[in-house]
């Protein structure tokens, strides 16, 4: 999945789940007060399930989840690491 597709998928999820249709890619969802502790867990679960990556302790920084663009970058970085690991194994 390329970055554009990831961004579109994350955007569709966040705009729908947060009922915020005009959420821009760089909008800070924490600063906007849109994220409850319950939804924070949903968000991690969405990222793991949708993109097949494992969100670990080191990834929990707020900067990684504060916007559509930030989550897209996190997915890209985690996917690259996972891809490199698969390459090393093969």
């Amino acid at each position: 999945m390329n970055d554009g597709t990831v961004r579109d998928t994350v955007g569709a999820f966040l705009r729908g789940a947060l009922r915020h249709n005009d959420l821009a890619d760089e909008d800070d969802v924490f600063a906007l007060g849109l994220i409850s502790s319950m939804f924070a867990m949903e968000l991690v679960e969405f990222v793991e399930r949708e993109f097949g990556i494992a969100v670990e302790s080191e990834d929990l920084e707020m900067e990684n989840f504060q916007s559509i663009a930030a989550i897209t970058r996190l997915v890209a970085a985690k996917s690259a690491v996972a891809g490199a690991a698969r390459g090393m194994v093969s």
Binding site: T5, T9, A12, A17, S37, M41, E50, S57, L60, M62
Partner: protein, 405 residues
């Protein structure tokens, strides 16, 4: 207290596997042999004897899910039910220990997991969760305890209150607030600046060995931060609370079953007006109400544990809250019914009914009061409905596009 547990419903018919039934029998045997004979003493002295803690550890009761092969949340639940049947206080010790273990297993770094989890599993260290404060209970995300980076670690200042097993825990998972947001820290008992003050005289669950923690410039190394700053409540503490709610729901079923067994026994033995009181329709009504409520709570516990095994964390959190809400409110009614049925005897020290009654009230208050769960479950249901709708939108977006890549 009798050490023979009457059989309840046929659990095989409810879908428990042969392995789960075997584990259940093992947990029940341990609870009735090792815990039940000490339950009254624990309630009276407000203390769980150290040799019993050691036996819990050697029997594997303190091992977290990471050591299960395969992982089996239902078996874990059966463990809590069996322990609480014998003593809610002892189950409480195991529960808080496993809540911290679960948070470590999920959010600890590889190094943290290697360092802490094996010690917790063997009982070499006992863990406790420190969220509640004198001024902060249900609004846990608003804790006042402060943490600031200092040198090569963090310094914590504040107070934590009503901390289960605070009197004996070797390490505390403390929720504090950094400038950037909530964070959780592993604070060893011997950390400089930590003072522990026992709290005694609780209404029920008197073996919880509660304590108040005073953190005065309490210093911990940087690698004692669990998870990231900002995620302390939303992820780390929530993971612990979710585990704790399921365990506690199972524990409520255990105490409820103990109430029911006592009530059935008494109703069969007690004679009035020339009949066993079980022959009277008003007594039958009480018993029927107890049976239906306990069975319903048991089924909700099964569902919550099943969700932990197969579903995501958010769904598991919702089911845990529902199970805890129903099981704990049910238990206060069941314990009251059992006491009513026993009359004056139930209020005496001759039978454990008054202990069940007192413990039940505490179990309804902890890991989320009835009222906070009533708020939370409805909000979570609304949020999950929006998430489901948004996932549908994603399916028409990223998934279709990725399929074409």
């Amino acid at each position: 207290m009798s050490t023979v547990r009457p059989k309840g419903v046929s659990r095989r018919e409810l879908g428990l596997s042969a392995r789960q039934l075997a584990l259940e029998a093992e947990y029940q045997a341990f609870a009735m042999q090792e815990v039940a004979p000490l339950a009254e003493q624990i309630d009276r002295t407000e203390e769980i004897p150290r040799p019993l803690v050691d036996r819990l550890a050697s029997a594997g009761m303190l091992r977290g899910a990471a050591f299960d092969e395969p992982p089996d949340p239902i078996a874990h639940g059966l463990r809590h039910e069996a322990l609480a049947y014998a003593s809610a206080s002892v189950e409480g010790l195991v529960n808080v220990h496993l809540m911290v273990t679960e948070a470590l297993e999920r959010w600890g770094t590889a190094l943290q997991r290697r360092r802490w989890v094996p010690e917790l599993a063997t009982g070499a260290r006992l863990a406790a969760l420190a969220i509640t404060e004198p001024e902060v209970g249900s609004d846990a995300s608003s804790v006042r305890t402060r943490a600031r980076a200092a040198g090569r670690g963090y310094v914590l200042d504040g107070r934590k209150k009503w901390i289960t097993c605070g009197q004996i825990a070797d390490v505390f998972l403390v929720l504090a607030r950094c400038e950037e947001g909530p964070a959780t820290f592993l604070v060893p008992r011997d950390a400089p600046g930590l003072r522990i003050e026992p709290i005694r005289g609780l209404l029920g669950c008197r073996g919880y060995m509660l304590a108040e923690l005073h953190l005065d410039s309490c210093a911990v190394p940087a690698d004692h931060l669990l998870g990231a700053v900002g995620a302390g409540f939303s992820h780390v503490a929530t993971t612990a609370l979710c585990a704790g709610r399921v365990n506690l729901a199972w524990a409520c079923v255990g105490v409820g079953q103990a109430c029911l067994d006592a009530a059935l026994r008494h109703a069969g033995e007690r004679r009035q007006f020339g009949h066993a009181i079980e022959d009277f329709e008003l007594v039958q009504r009480i018993l029927t109400r107890m049976i239906a409520r306990i069975d319903a709570a048991f089924l909700l516990c099964l569902r919550a544990s099943h969700e932990r095994a197969s579903g995501g964390a958010a769904a598991a959190s919702m089911e845990a809250a529902i199970a805890k809400y129903f099981a704990s409110t049910t238990l206060t009614r069941v314990a009251s019914d059992a006491l009513q049925l026993h009359g004056a005897l139930g209020c005496s020290a001759e039978v454990p009914l008054q202990r069940y009654f007192r413990d039940a009230k505490i179990m309804e208050l902890i890991e989320g009061t009835t009222q906070i769960l009533e708020t939370m479950i409805a909000r979570q249901a609304s949020s999950r409905a929006r998430v489901a709708s948004a996932l549908g939108a994603c399916a028409g977006n990223g998934r279709e596009q990725s399929a074409s890549l």
